[in-house]
């Protein structure tokens, strides 16, 4: 039976529905809940330098999907659909379905791709969850994956005159770096604040890596790797994130030259922006009733996600409007949330969002973010879910909000509960 505290909170919920109901409702366990039974990722490694530099998207996917198949101990025939969040790869739909088959899933397991730039991984989670909610499938796998080494980001393609002459649509031609400067300029985010934010990301990531906090997030990847000096190809097993520069301080970052001197205030540098990185992450989803039936371990719950648009020229501040929107939808307040995983596309937007929402910095990206770990575009949305669940487990906390800004002017946010 319920404890006195639980009974009291139901009465409090009757008296104060707006305050008490959101969190307690979110923590309820119902058979229809969309739960996560496995959440893992590959190491994140530097593009063109790191361990995954010679691994194209399909090989990266095959490795991760094989790990999921083995680690989940789930009959692969039960996985009905795999949605791959990916932004850059040419022929991404070929890669997705082919990798699913090559990774040992049967021919009945379907595949699709999701692309909404940096939110693609979270969009994949939402797509699979929605399919389960709608009854289209029972079990699905959401993946985010990006090989930025083999398919670099070349920015916006040529666009029609109607777009170019439209006052807002034309902003989509602006490179991401320019939007970071727009945010820094419009909202007076200083270089010092950005460097301090970035240094903190590095320091948190360094602490987490040295303490081995991410051990339960990461599945190793065995790849062929070409030595850039000798040209020798060898087989390597990659187990660690390699983007974290130990000993980084705000002072050391302060010495780095501006990356975009052509756009005022030129506060963005290679040190306070996200790294270009390769990596992949996967989240296995099903209803609670199905998970219990299959004896799958429930590690977390997907509680919903939402998206909202804004002016493309300041796309970075997307989380500052997407997070309030998802909190409102789930009846949560900022203080109910234990961990915020906000993608650090640039320190300018990171500083602004934390400040604007009044977040406790200790709750934001406790293991560091994309500045320290890297930002494989399509992977990030799923990677943040994996990291958030692992961090909630470590802290013995419950509720995480994950959010990211999205190129072309959007923000996406989702709410997850850990059930460790």
């Amino acid at each position: 039976m319920a404890s006195a505290g639980e009974r009291l909170s139901t009465v409090m919920g009757h008296l104060n529905p707006s305050k008490a109901s959101g969190k307690s409702k979110l923590l309820e366990k119902n058979p229809d809940d969309i739960v996560i039974t496995l959440a893992v990722r590959t190491p994140l490694t530097k593009a063109r330098k790191g361990g995954l530099k010679d691994t194209p998207l399909d090989d990266l996917l095959i490795s991760l999907l094989t790990s999921v198949r083995e680690k989940s101990k789930l009959d692969p025939a039960l996985v009905e659909d795999v949605c791959v969040g990916n932004v850059l790869a040419v022929g991404q739909a070929y890669a997705a379905r082919s990798a699913v088959l090559a990774a040992g899933f049967p021919i009945t397991t379907a595949a699709s791709v999701a692309n909404r730039f940096c939110s693609s991984g979270l969009l994949a989670v939402q797509n699979i969850a929605n399919q389960i909610i709608a009854g289209s499938i029972d079990v699905g796998l959401a993946v985010g994956a990006e090989s930025m080494s083999t398919t670099p980001d070349n920015g916006a393609p040529p666009m029609s005159d109607k777009v170019l002459n439209h006052p807002i649509a034309s902003q989509n031609t602006q490179p991401m770096g320019q939007t970071s400067e727009n945010v820094a300029g419009q909202f007076s985010v200083t270089r010092q604040a950005m460097d301090a934010f970035a240094a903190s990301s590095y320091q948190k990531a360094e602490k987490a890596q040295k303490a081995g906090w991410s051990a339960d997030e990461i599945v190793p990847v065995t790849v062929q790797w070409k030595d850039p000096k000798t040209g020798q190809v060898s087989v390597k097993t990659i187990t660690q994130d390699d983007g974290i520069r130990y000993g980084t301080t705000a002072e050391s970052l302060g010495k780095i030259r501006a990356a975009f001197p052509q756009w005022s205030p030129s506060a963005t540098t290679g040190g306070n922006a996200s790294q270009i990185t390769d990596g992949a992450a996967a989240v296995l989803l099903m209803k609670r009733s199905r998970a219990e039936q299959l004896g799958q371990p429930i590690v977390g719950k997907f509680c919903g996600a939402t998206v909202i648009g804004l002016e493309p020229r300041i796309m970075g501040i997307g989380p500052s409007i997407a997070i309030p929107k998802i909190l409102e939808k789930t009846g949560l307040s900022i203080s109910d949330v234990d961990v915020f995983e906000i993608n650090e596309a640039f320190a300018s937007m990171g500083v602004y969002c934390v400040d604007k929402l009044g977040l406790d910095p200790a709750k934001v990206n406790p293991r560091g973010g994309a500045i320290a770990l890297g930002h494989p575009l399509g992977c990030t949305g799923a990677r943040q879910v994996v990291t958030a669940l692992s961090e909630l487990r470590r802290q013995d906390k419950r509720i995480a909000v994950t959010s990211m800004c999205v190129g072309t002017g959007m923000g996406m946010a989702g709410v997850f509960v850990s059930e460790h």
């Binding site: 039976m1 319920a2 006195a4 009974r7 009291l8 139901t10 009465v11 919920g13 009757h14 008296l15 529905p17 109901s21 119902n30 058979p31 229809d32």
Partner: protein, 347 residues
């Protein structure tokens, strides 16, 4: 107020009150120590006498009591809804222990309702998201109906032996008809969103509210398709289950906090009594007493209120006998009040 009677349930906070369907002078009160959060429960059997209200007997239980219902078949039998998930049947001719205790619900039982037509069954509903149907003669429940949501209230239709309803924290009114064949729908025939359905093509737009926990409901005693609901959003609504998609017929706003209990008058088809966390009991008409059209013009209104309780009012019931208007209310203030609704009209 003249003629108001009072009984102190010393050390126990009231949760439910029910007049005996057999004797006009007998009242049962389900109560709990420490506001029902932790500790014992106590079922009082009280008599209205020339010397005021006297305790005829009481039964103590291990855990809190949240509701009670008199047997419609046996004048001495009464069931209670317990915090420990059990449903217990007491015989008031006996002492101390229940004659039957059923331990099937996995969480707190919040309501019990006796079948008024087929008098050999009753229903219970629980925080565990189920409604169970029982017979006093059977060692286990007859049927379990899932709601997947904390179910604060269940009630048999007073007009049909096989129709029952529930309201729950998911903001829905459910109607079950046990005559329907057993199937995946578990006898569910209507699922009515109390807060208002999303706008649909072909239906006129109407006011919508966010979903909120529904705590209580009651079947009208004269109009067999009318049900009143209320809960956390403080608004009392009436529904006609013949037209479940039409939304509420009457909206009766006024309570300042959640409504805990509703009871239609056994004498007047339009009159309703409510008990609320705002410490008042209120008397309402749903506006159907004059012309049928009134209700659609918002003819429902508050007729009067009792402000004598000093804590949350949790239970209220009408006396079935004698002059129309006598009722009883219980509250966390550890008092049972017996009073005449006509004395508070216009207040």
């Amino acid at each position: 107020m003249n003629g108001m009677l009072e009984y102190q349930t010393q050390g126990f906070n009231g949760y439910a009150v029910k007049y005996s369907p057999f004797f006009d002078s007998r009242i049962a009160v389900a109560s709990s120590a420490n506001f029902g959060l932790v500790g014992n429960g106590r079922l009082y059997i009280l008599g209205l006498t020339a010397d005021g209200i006297q305790a005829e007997k009481w039964f103590d239980t291990q855990d809190s009591l949240y509701d009670t219902a008199w047997s419609e078949a046996h004048e001495n039998q009464i069931v209670v809804a317990c915090g420990d998930g059990s449903v217990k049947l007491f015989d008031i001719a006996l002492n101390n222990f229940p004659v039957q205790s059923w331990q099937e619900h996995n969480r707190e039982v919040y309501s019990v309702s006796w079948n008024l037509v087929s008098k050999d069954t009753f229903a219970s509903s629980s925080w565990d998201g189920t409604i169970k149907i029982w017979s006093p003669q059977r060692p286990t429940s007859i049927l379990t109906l899932p709601t997947h949501s904390c179910t604060y209230s269940t009630a048999f239709s007073p007009h049909s032996p096989s129709v029952l309803s529930s309201v729950s924290s998911d903001s829905h009114l459910r109607i079950f008809d046990l005559r329907t064949p057993a199937s995946a729908s578990n006898h569910l025939v209507h699922l009515i969103p109390i807060h208002g359905a999303p706008p649909a093509p072909g239906l006129p737009a109407r006011q919508s509210f966010p979903p909120s926990e529904c705590l209580t409901h009651d079947w009208n005693k004269y109009r067999s398709s009318i049900i009143a609901t209320a809960g956390v959003d403080t608004i009392i609504r009436t529904f006609d289950i013949r037209n479940p998609k039409a939304g509420p017929l009457a909206l009766l706003p006024g309570h300042e906090y959640a409504v805990r209990k509703l009871a239609w008058s056994p004498h007047l088809s339009d009159v309703l009594l409510s008990a609320s966390y705002d410490m008042t009991c209120r008397v309402w008409t749903d506006g159907t007493s004059n012309t049928q059209q009134d209700v659609f013009r918002g003819g429902g209104k508050e007729l009067g209120r009792l402000g004598r309780h000093t804590e949350f009012v949790t239970g209220v019931d009408w006396c079935l006998f004698g002059a129309e208007g006598w009722c009883a209310s219980v509250s966390w203030d550890q008092r049972l009040l017996v009073w005449d609704v006509r004395a508070v009209m216009g207040q």
